[in-house]
Amino acid sequence: MRGKMRGRGICFSVAFVFLAGLMFVLFSPAQAAEPKTILIGDSNPLTGGGAYWGIGSKNALDLAMDKCNKAGGVTIKGQQYLFKIIHEDDKYKGSEAVKAINKLIFTDKVQFIVGPLGTAAVKAVQPITEAQKMVMIIDTYAGPDILRNMNYTFRAMVPPTHFAPSFFKWVKDKHPQLKTLIHIAANDATGWGATNGDNDACHALGMKVLGSEFFERGSTDFTAMVTRILSQNPDFLSMGGSPPGEAALLIKQAREMGYKGRIIHSGMLEPSQLGPIAGWENIEGIIQTGIGPEGPGVPKAMKQYFIDYEAKYGNVNSFAPYIYDMFDILVMGIKKANSLDSTKVRDAIEQMDEFDTIWGKARWGGKELYGNNHQLFRPTPVSIIKDKKLICLEMVTPQEVPPPSQEWHNRK
């Protein structure tokens, strides 16, 4: 028995070592950086709860990089450079993000960082990237702390603080009968960012916020929450900051239990993902800020982006368009600085005038709120789900100075 065990042990160990070796060979990067390569680090959740966003980001960045490399990369002081992105998995955890960023900075010696999403991850790595003077382009919904006193961090995603006032103004103009709401979000930093931004905007527009509800990420039963909501019967449910899977179940259960009001999501929900889970009839008429290839409001460049993405990956990821531009912005900064020095690139990005993105004209701003112009402002879509499709109605311009914060957690 013992001998058999040992035999199997050796078998198992050999198999394990072989497997590990195979992985290593298959996935090890080209160690030697070619003289003409600019290394960019990307740390995103490729596994774990945020995998949908992380994989979308990875795909979008690769797509943008391929396009740039095909066009010849950039030329700096007569020398041509191509880009290479190194992707790391941060498992949607702050502590793992630190390890990933350390590896990118100190072992891979990347020159720039794009992509960390998730407030915990960004806050955990900022002490390192700032000390290393590493230009980092992030996307998160976190509060103003994420940019205040940060010299090298840029946010290339418009958080609800800025776009919610314009978005909800559109809602108010087109649907003046919507006067009361309850906000629902995941109980994480993203959810809190959306709650505060959306509720401040609605409050400033004279709508009445009846309450804010939170759920644990990964929850599948929202019946207790819907019971609470039904007892107050708001005109609409504002669901910004709810991830797609949870949002779908929430919609399904709210309709099933008899909620008749409108549903508004200040985020992106892809109908082809949402419909089968929530029920197609339940998602008709949801107003949201996601974008797809269809509708009168979609910019031309965005349409091209959707064609390219689908040609390369064969599917649609509703989060990817938000990330795609990050790479282009960095390249524009490098071109403008005509240098790879991170401080020069930082200055160049800060001084960029209005520039084109797939979303339309964009610019940097936010001095009043953050103390620096490190916040991207670009048009935000207003879309509606109609006949199982996401139709982008128009693009609205986010507001640089948001309404005063009401600190929604202190209010009942």
Binding site: G9, S13, A20, M23, G94, K99, I128, G143, N187, W192
Partner: protein, 324 residues
């Protein structure tokens, strides 16, 4: 400590620890070593309560309690780090006393579920009490420890992620190692081994099982709190996600993979399980599969952990004669 060989080994280990930053200068690897050190303190604290046969799944919660206490004491109450470091250990220990007293009557899986529930309660409190704990955004901008200055002679300051943190952590490790080693060697430690193996017999011999369990639990959580305090000021940012049930599981894996028989097993566990994910990082999504396979292989073929296997191969005589 009469054995000259032992003194020699200890001095060697100490010298190696002091010299390490000169050999490993890469900040990435220094950060990993610090992570190992923190995991070592946490897992060895967990090992204490495991020595009476109980497994706590709340170790990460006590780690978090220490981290949050220290951050709040320094940032809101304005205390010095050097005061908040022991204080956060004491706060953790005090909560462990309150929780441990009723809960340690429970055995096996019942203790598992009650400690797991406590861990969840702690995490939910960190998440929900926004004014004090910052909610899901956590607490950022936690200051570095105050510089130690002896006027005119020397001054040690703590730059972000500097090597000074390494030496501070080594000091904490040496203290915790020494305390745990003494517990293990004492009459008290031997009684704990007896409780684990034959609790009825131990009780009939007049060993107070409850008292022993409580003391071990409280000491383990004290060091978890200390580790938390260090972690908060080293990372400068903490959030509720850091102290979840999954981290408690990680410490348990470290302890069992390394081998709970000896404190050296915990060292091996902490080192291996910190290095392995870095080594297999290139495998991207396959990483977790390799990790899981590694855990399985060790559990299946090294019943008393890696230390147990090394001991068998090299015929290492036990340093202590106790069971833990």
């Amino acid at each position: 400590m009469s054995n000259p060989l032992k003194i020699f080994t200890s001095l060697g280990a100490l010298a190696a620890m002091l010299m390490l930053p000169w050999v490993i200068t890469d900040p990435r690897y220094r950060d990993l070593i610090i992570t190992m050190g923190i995991y070592f303190i946490l897992a060895s604290g967990l090992r204490l309560i495991m020595s009476v046969g109980q497994v706590s799944f709340a170790q990460a919660a006590f780690w978090g309690i220490g981290a949050y206490s220290s951050a709040i004491l320094v940032m809101k109450a304005g205390l010095s780090f050097w005061l908040s470091l022991p204080l956060s250990g004491i706060i953790s220990a005090f909560i462990a006393l309150l929780i441990g007293y009723p809960c340690l009557r429970l055995k096996g899986p019942y203790f598992f579920i009650i400690t797991m529930s406590f861990g969840e309660v702690a995490r939910l409190v960190f998440t929900s009490w926004i004014d004090l704990f910052g909610g899901t955004n956590g607490i950022s901008g936690i200051p570095a420890p105050d510089p130690i200055t002896i006027s005119g002679v020397f001054s040690i300051s703590f730059p972000p992620r500097g090597v000074e943190f390494y030496y501070l952590l080594m000091l904490l490790i040496i203290v915790s190692f020494f305390v745990m080693y003494r517990i293990e060697r004492s009459h008290f430690g031997k009684a704990c081994g007896a409780i684990r193996e034959f609790d009825d017999l131990a009780a009939s011999l007049g060993i107070n099982i409850m008292r022993h369990s409580i003391i071990l639990f409280v000491v383990g959580c004290f060091f978890a709190g200390i580790a938390g305090s260090f972690y908060a000021h080293y990372m400068t940012y903490i959030g509720p996600g850091y102290f979840s049930f999954h981290e408690s599981l990680l410490f348990l894996i470290i302890a069992v993979i390394g081998g709970t028989e000896s404190i050296f097993g915990i060292i091996i566990g902490a080192v291996l399980l910190t290095i392995l994910p870095e080594f297999t990082r290139e495998a991207k999504q396959f990483e977790s599969i390799i990790y899981g396979a590694f855990v399985l292989v060790v559990l299946l073929f090294m019943p008393s952990g890696i230390w147990g296997m090394l001991k068998k191969i090299f015929r290492i005589k036990p340093l202590s004669k106790s069971y833990i």
